[in-house]
Amino acid sequence: MVGFVAGLLDATVQAATVLLLAGMGELISERAGVLNLGVEGMMLVGALGGFITTVLTGSHWLGFGVGILLGMVLALVHAFLCITLKSNQVISGVMLTLLGTGLTTFFGSGWVEESIDGFPQMTFPLVGQYLVGVPVVGEALFRSTATDYLALGLLVVVWYFLHHSNLGLEMIAVGEDPEMADTMGVSVFRLRYLAVLIGGGFAGAAGAHLSLAFSQLWVPGMTAGRGWIAVALVIFAQWRPRRMLVGAYLFGLLDALRIRSQSISLTLGPDAPLAGVINPVVEFLMTPQIMGTYPYLATIIVLAYAVIRTKSDQLAVPSALLQSYSRETD
């Protein structure tokens, strides 16, 4: 049992990192008022680009960097369409997911057979070698890949950046009230571009982590909807970085549980009262595919609950989300 829980936690951390990276990018972009539904496509482009680079050069970090860069290239298209041309953000985002999926399937078909040595597992610097022996959580927390630690570090950076730096606060202002921000001398266009580009970079990093650390291979469509989960995660976290940490680990746990659900047995013994009624229900709820619906259902319920029960300022949906901004000119 202890071994099972330790393994589960280890898988949770890995699954959570993908969601954390992609979710942070989405959060920054949405905070500036631009919804990015292209995360899935940007992740795929980052995953393939990172993988090919690593195969050709042997360097994970170069691959990771190329992944980030390619995510940003797609994000630049999104920024140009949504901010400069004031196009519909939903259409542009869905289009970019379609484009990223198509491009990576098209150009990645020859790379499916390749194998790489991905990011190595390492103990956390300095204290890791002592703490890794802690039962159950030690391995999960203190022996991971460098990108796992990087994602957690970046979360702190993003939280500080958004809520405690001038640039970050200006970004939030742009997402809440662009007219006001413009009047105050903040460049709405520049900040939105920056936010969307950072968001794309994070999505690319999430994809590169997926192919270089999580799976260590390339398969077309390997993100398997995680980009959409990241969009859902931001709503779940109500646009707050700290809640996103909780959400990412919760969704990561669901992801890890679902993969391992076959080896869990929560059914009652045949003689227990009501076993005949409860056991089929439990078995049904533990089916991998049914467990796969939980993150989506949880998000819908949280979103509906939050909208119905709280005022919109508490919900913290950026007020100008989905609205393009045109500067009044003479």
Binding site: K86, N88, I91, V94, T105, G292, T293, I300
Partner: protein
Amino acid sequence: MNVAVHVDAREDIPAWLAYGTPVFTVLAALAVSAVALVVLGVNPIAAYATMFVDTLVTEFGLTETLTKAVPLILTGLAVYLPLKAGLFNIGAEGQLVAGALAGTWVGLNVPLPGLALVPLMFAAAAVAGGLWAGIPAYLRAKWDVNEIITSLLLTFVALEIQSYLLRGPMQGGTGNFPQSERFSEAATIPELVSGVHAGLLVAVAMVVVTYVLMTRTRLGFEITFVGSNHEAARQAGMSKFYVYLLVFVVGGAFAAMGGISEIAGAQGRYRAGFEPGYGFTAIPIALLGRNSALKVLLAGLFFAVLFVGGSSMEVAFGVPAALVEIIQALVILFLITAEFFKNYRVGIDFDRGPSGAAVEPQGGDD
């Protein structure tokens, strides 16, 4: 000398732009996709010739195209109708799956002769798809919960349920494939002409119904009014709640009919991995055809040609069928770019002096 770019909203859109935009964007998308073909060492002209000529000239190509167009037109309508009311249904895929599952269940379990069974399958699909779409619709109409996110998330729920049912309770046939039992003769949609099933009639009928609804009825006018200005519509005494619920539920029913048409008409059984992305392709279809339901029909046919031509190109040149996805995405990309140039006039101004005369270069300090 200063050069300034200025952007002005056009007061009226010239006819050549209005009609030329869809054609031009498609050509531009094909031109850019040609780059990908060249990278693979395929002659793009030969490839496109295969893609379009073979598809439109051979009997096989034509029947395949008409068959493929059925779910595309119906999911296109599923996005088009809510769009008219100002709502985004990006979950047509989930509604299609939910409906197809319900219709398949009826087809496999209800003992009725074909004349009664097939309509019942369509009805069951429409109800299931309508209910599935009803969830985001109700949340949006009642509490303003964003329908984009909820309809999308429900797509993934529907896909998981599909995968569960076809590996469990609905699994049939021989072997361990996640698929349903094969449909009986009675549960199969009859052929209209050789190779084309009667689902095409349903699709065309729904286009006509939508067209009449939007252009000839008071309800259609209310939908357009709510879509263009729901505040004014409210003051005019129109119910946003009712309109929102209606367009989404009817849209979901359309998508569902597309799903059961494809399963019971073209496939013969429900296979897992039936995630053809019709619901996502529906978005460019609805956008290309957003002026009228008849244009949705044309856009659906066009994308059917792309899909069928894509597979013949795959066979003839070994080009991955994913190219079709790239072309689709590029069509939308250029379409929304063209939208901008359609609605705005972009001019470049060379700085002029106060008198209006062009300023001559002044000395050497430029």
